[in-house]
Amino acid sequence: MRYTVLLLLIFSFVTSLNAQEFKLGKISKEHFDIPLSKEEKAAPAVFLNKYRRTNFEYRDDLDGWLLYTTVHEVIKINSISGFSYGTKKIQLFNEGRESEAVKKVEAYTYNIEGGEVVKIKTPKERIIKNRINENLDEVTITMPEVKQGTIIEYKYTVESSYYEIDDVIFQEDIPVKNAFAIIESPQFFDYNKFIKGYRDIISNDYVKLRQENASFELRNPFGGRTSKTLTNRIKYNDIVSEYHLQDIPALKEEPFVNNMENYRISVVYELATVEFKKGIKEKRAKSWDEVAEYLNNPARVAGQIDRASFLEGVSDTLKRKSVATLDRMNFAYNYIQDRMTWDRGINKYRSQDLKKAYYQKKGTAYEINTLLVSLLKRMGLKAAPVMASTKDNGIPIFPTVDGFDYAIAAVYYDNKWILMDASGKNLYPGLLPERVMNWEGRLLKENGESLSIPLFSSEHSDNKSSIIVSINKKGEISGKCRQKYSNNEGLSIRNILKGEDQDYQEDVLKEIINENNVYDVVFELENSSKPTMISYGFKTSNYTEIVDDKMYLSPHLFLEKPENPFKASNRELPIDFIYPRIVENTITFKLPKEYTVDSMPESIELKLSGGLGSYKIAFKQVNDQSIQVLSSFKSNSTLVKADAYNEIKNFYAQIVAKEKEKVVLKKK
């Protein structure tokens, strides 16, 4: 439910739009005097104006539409850290016959010298085009004479043969005072619009009549060209949306955010239909079921699932080993996991080949998990691929093939779908890696339907430690520790340690617990489906202090939570806890016989509202010479709204303060 914030459809209002006050090449003293708020002044630079127009032109010579996007931006540079805005980069894509080109670039620098505005035009040779790779060019404009207080201005138009309208971005990493955007599309193109970010966006929508000269070549009866050309005036409507936003704060990075781009204030356009022939609307936008259908096409990987005859032999061999569903699932999973290496490549849904991947023994997560589905189905299990988007890719805002960059596999057993990803060597059925624990995926059913599957983990990952220590009269501690990490906690430890030599593993452990004298270390990392276990002995004198006749003991040893991870005084964006977790510590102390317990901290229990989390700690005197500290921390949520920030920050602060409290021992 909370994710729907991102998916609000635009509701239209009619407002009057201010006339554009910024004319290219005409920045005057008044523009320098535009008052800035405290935040705007403190920022490295500020957009005084951010103008964008996207429109279509019918190009008679090309017999088709071209998309033009004009950008006109005026930026005031406040400080040295804003100098980077003096260099503007424009990226241009091309693929096959589709391409983009930049037209009419102009850029200026304005400075106040002796009370007058001095304007400098960026020379042509300072506008450089660079080929980044075969599909991407970059035009760099380096504007001259940029100083503190400078205003820079540039305007350019990108001509594109793609009909996809780039996201209309209003929020930048610096504040934006005024943003205007005008998106004009001929009636032949229908777009769906989606809002991103925490702000209402209101557009002024209207219809504008346009006329265009178009020439039509007459065709001869056999379809060939004739020399006859007719020129016609065509009339049509442009659908126009105007946006005017003011005083947009900078998008500032906050810790515990999955992907900042999910929250940038912008409007996303999706091409819904095109009408190239009168009355015939070609559908371009897709429902989830249509995306599923597209992917289930025989030419696509999912379509190849039932045709992977090269898996026949393996399938037969594995099938013979057991008839039980879970056994078969594990055999298939282990086989694919062992065989295949994830190439970390970005998934290309349109160009894959299961057979090739299988024989090369490597591929994208999509290929690996689709192979797994194929094998599972061959072995008689009910299995399906689940399309997913990684955290880096963000949240797919509307149903689209490109919104996904990953796939996992699912097996139906005992009335539920078990999710699995064979692309990581330390994973097992039921455990997904963090990279794909993002919002929800779409499970592709055989009948062409699709199903929404939550990818956030509902299961807790445990981190449990039990320590037994004895303290001598000098305050020296020697102890034995056993730690158990399950699910994603176990996975992250395995990913670091598995396959490394013992020396390295021990070094990492020493770093984690910040202790040097560690011995008898045993790691249990091999069986991925079991929790990771680490056990070791240690000696230290770091947690006690003797003052006069008293000994002060830090009762959590190296398990103490040293600082509050939440430092900022306020919060804008939801907090991503990645997965639910439980941290449980049991520490038993054998006290020196010369000492007795003088005081122990109070046992307490804390709870976050809405069942988000809890913390419990108890100090127990077991007998004269022994005490026990039991603590349990539970975080039940994945993505939490910013509203809860203060409560969460305070919750952590209380825990940190509590764990600093000492046990006091007194000389007998």
Binding site: R131, V547, E563, S569, K660, K662
Partner: protein
């Protein structure tokens, strides 16, 4: 007939096997080369051929066995090129652990992309590279390339190992040069004679075998200070169509001055007049230089470009004058042009910019360095000017260019000179203030920090952060104070004195903790150090402390009304070869406590067996900094 065909097929297939497998098995590698290694150079053959002053052909053949995923970084399956270079061939072949060929990438399948990510001033520098994702380890990769260049100013050095965690079974480097060009070389780090060097006329063959992997150590040497290497150079070379001389630094400098720098210094008449007017009344040459420097800082911005890219010739001063930006060469040359207008002598200076002090080798003349600064003579000394920063005070150079040999280019020729060294007294951080503790254990602090020398360089950047980032900075700086709230931050950057002052007011709840009736109050509020160097079972490298520092604190602690001091830690004094630490807390008559701390760290290269003593020194400091005061009601 049938038989014949069969024979042919058989014959062919044996040929194919010969090509498709590689005579390698990880068993044949000596165990001591596997130790600490993520990758092993099995066989490397680099041959450099310079048949003419404007032609250099480099053939590389490299067989690397990668033992685990961390070893992938040793595989450098790429070549750079530009307008002056041509990659004639490039390719990789990958073999699995049994020596079976599993992948081959030919030149046409290499990626060809721009080498300057987000490049701004130059666009001709490019890179060709191959993608390969290993499935399993170990694997062996053969990289081959042939690159032809018109530049002979740069010759790849020979390294016995390129990086940490990589060992070398065998590496062979052959260089053959037209004798008239006068090849020369210099050997580094080869006290144990690991390198076999065979010198013939116009030809040198170097071989290294069985070089063990090096593991980096905390506060140890850099890899370039450990691994044997050879630098090569020519007395006559060509650089982007310009012939150069490298007999000695003097003539090299003369050449640079005449060929690369002489025609680049004109500025507009308006700028000329402005400079003359600005400097007209300044009493001394140094005052004038400062005016010129600050004029340049206010007029320009730095656009980052590596020195080798875009050539060694700076952009014209006049262009910088018009555009107001440039890379380090352009901005330094421009500043020099302005100094010339004001008739202040100044010298273009080539240097290595890096946090570890890296010299321009005094006794080996060749193109070196990765950065350019300006030197202005002041009596017997030089004032060094960093021209790429708009903030740096006049004459201040930070930790990236201090205390190292640089090539100063004077009209009489090149000279090697050492840049400014910041000594113990200069590198100082003074922390003073008042901290008030209330009965609940919360504190309020009013703290003043003053940093000079190298420490100025690590603090003054704060001025340019926005309010939110400043807050975050202090929350990190005092990360041991939980619940820190910043109330006020006042910064004062005194560029004339090169002192950075910070006045910070903050509060923090539950700083002190209660145990029953007793309040435990950590005594060091604002300069706590918890740094304890990593322990090594068998330390191999000397301990390197690159700069001396001194830290002095004096904090007045105001205690809550009605509470008595039950315990105050005893004064601590630790003296060691590496410096000194003292801490004391004194009860004042008015009931306040005065906390004093002094820490001095002495630069030096200490023998490896002293590392343990250094750890013990740091541990004592950490312990001293974690002392607690106990109060009771």
């Amino acid at each position: 007939m049938r038989l014949l065909i069969l024979c042919c097929i058989l014959l062919q297939s044996t040929l194919l096997i010969a090509q498709n497998s590689f005579n390698f098995s990880s068993n044949t590698i000596p165990e001591d080369l596997k130790k600490d290694a993520n990758s092993i150079i099995i066989d490397e053959r680099i041959s450099v051929n310079i048949p003419a002053i404007d032609k250099q052909i480099v053939n590389t053949y490299q067989v690397i066995t990668v033992l685990n995923k961390n070893g992938n970084r040793a595989v450098n399956a790429y070549e750079y090129y530009d307008d002056n270079m041509k990659i004639k061939d490039i390719g990789i072949t990958v073999y699995d652990k049994n020596g079976e060929k599993i992948k081959e990438v030919k030149k046409r399948d290499f990626n060809d992309v721009s080498a300057v990510e987000g490049g701004t001033l130059y666009s001709e520098s490019r890179i060709m590279f191959a993608d390969y994702t290993p499935d399993e380890y170990p694997y062996t990769i053969v990289f081959e390339s042939e690159v032809e260049s018109k530049t002979t100013a740069f010759i790849s050095p020979f390294y016995a190992a390129q990086d940490y965690y990589t060992s070398t079974l065998k590496s062979l480097y052959t260089i053959e040069v037209l004798p008239e060009l006068e090849l020369k070389y210099k050997v580094y780090n080869d006290d144990d004679s690991v390198l076999k060097i065979n010198e013939l006329t116009g030809k040198i063959v170097v071989e290294a075998t069985n070089v063990k992997a090096v593991v980096p150590e905390n506060q140890g040497l850099t890899i370039s200070g450990i691994v044997p290497k050879i630098q090569f150079g020519l007395n006559h070379f060509e650089l982007k169509g310009v012939q150069g001389i490298g007999d000695d630094w003097n003539s090299f400098g003369k050449w640079m001055n005449e060929s690369l720098l002489s025609e680049t210094k004109e500025v507009s008449e308006a700028t000329r007049k402005e400079i003359l007017a600005l400097t007209k009344d300044a009493p001394t040459a140094i005052d004038k230089a400062k005016i010129v420097y600050e004029y340049m800082q206010n007029r320009t911005r730095y656009i980052s470009v590596q020195i080798g890219i875009g050539g060694w010739k700076p952009m014209l001063a006049n262009d910088v004058d018009q555009l107001g930006y440039g890379d380090c060469k352009a901005l330094t040359n421009y500043t020099k042009a302005l100094m010339d207008v004001a008739e202040i002598p100044s010298y273009y200076t080539v240097i290595n910019s890096s946090s570890e002090k890296e010299d321009i080798t005094p006794d080996f003349t060749s193109i070196q360095g990765n950065h350019v600064i300006l030197a202005v003579p002041n009596d017997e000394e030089m004032v060094w000017l960093e021209c790429t920063s708009q903030q740096t005070p006049f004459g201040y150079i930070g930790a990236s260019t201090d205390d190292r040999n640089a090539l100063v280019i004077t009209p009489e020729g090149g000279k090697i000179m050492k840049t400014k060294k910041y000594d113990l007294e200069e590198n100082k951080l003074l922390t003073t203030g008042v901290v008030t503790v209330n009965e609940a254990g919360a504190i309020e602090g009013d703290v003043h920090l003053e940093s000079t020398g190298i420490l100025y360089g690590s603090h003054f950047g704060l001025e340019f952060l926005d309010a939110k980032d400043k807050n975050e900075y202090y929350k990190e700086y005092w990360d041991y104070i939980n619940n820190l709230k910043l109330i006020d931050i006042q910064l004062d950057n005194n560029k004339d004195e090169v002192v950075f002052k910070e006045d910070v007011t903050f509060s923090a709840d539950s700083y002190a903790t209660y145990v029953g009736e007793e309040m435990i109050l950590p005594a060091n509020f604002v300069t706590r150090s918890n740094y304890i160097p990593t322990r090594y079972k068998d330390r191999k490298q000397p301990l390197v402390i690159s700069r001396s520092y001194n830290y002095e604190d004096e904090v007045t602690i105001k205690l809550p009304e009605g509470m008595n001091v039950k315990f105050v830690p005893e004064p601590i004094q630790v003296v060691s070869d590496f410096g000194e630490y003292t801490m004391s807390i004194v009860k004042e008559e008015n009931g306040d406590l005065t906390y004093k701390r002094y820490l001095k760290v002495q630069e030096g290269m200490y023998p490896k067996d002293q590392y343990k003593a250094y750890r013990s020194f740091r541990r004592k400091i950490a312990k001293g900094d974690n002392q607690k005061i106990i109060l009771t009601k």
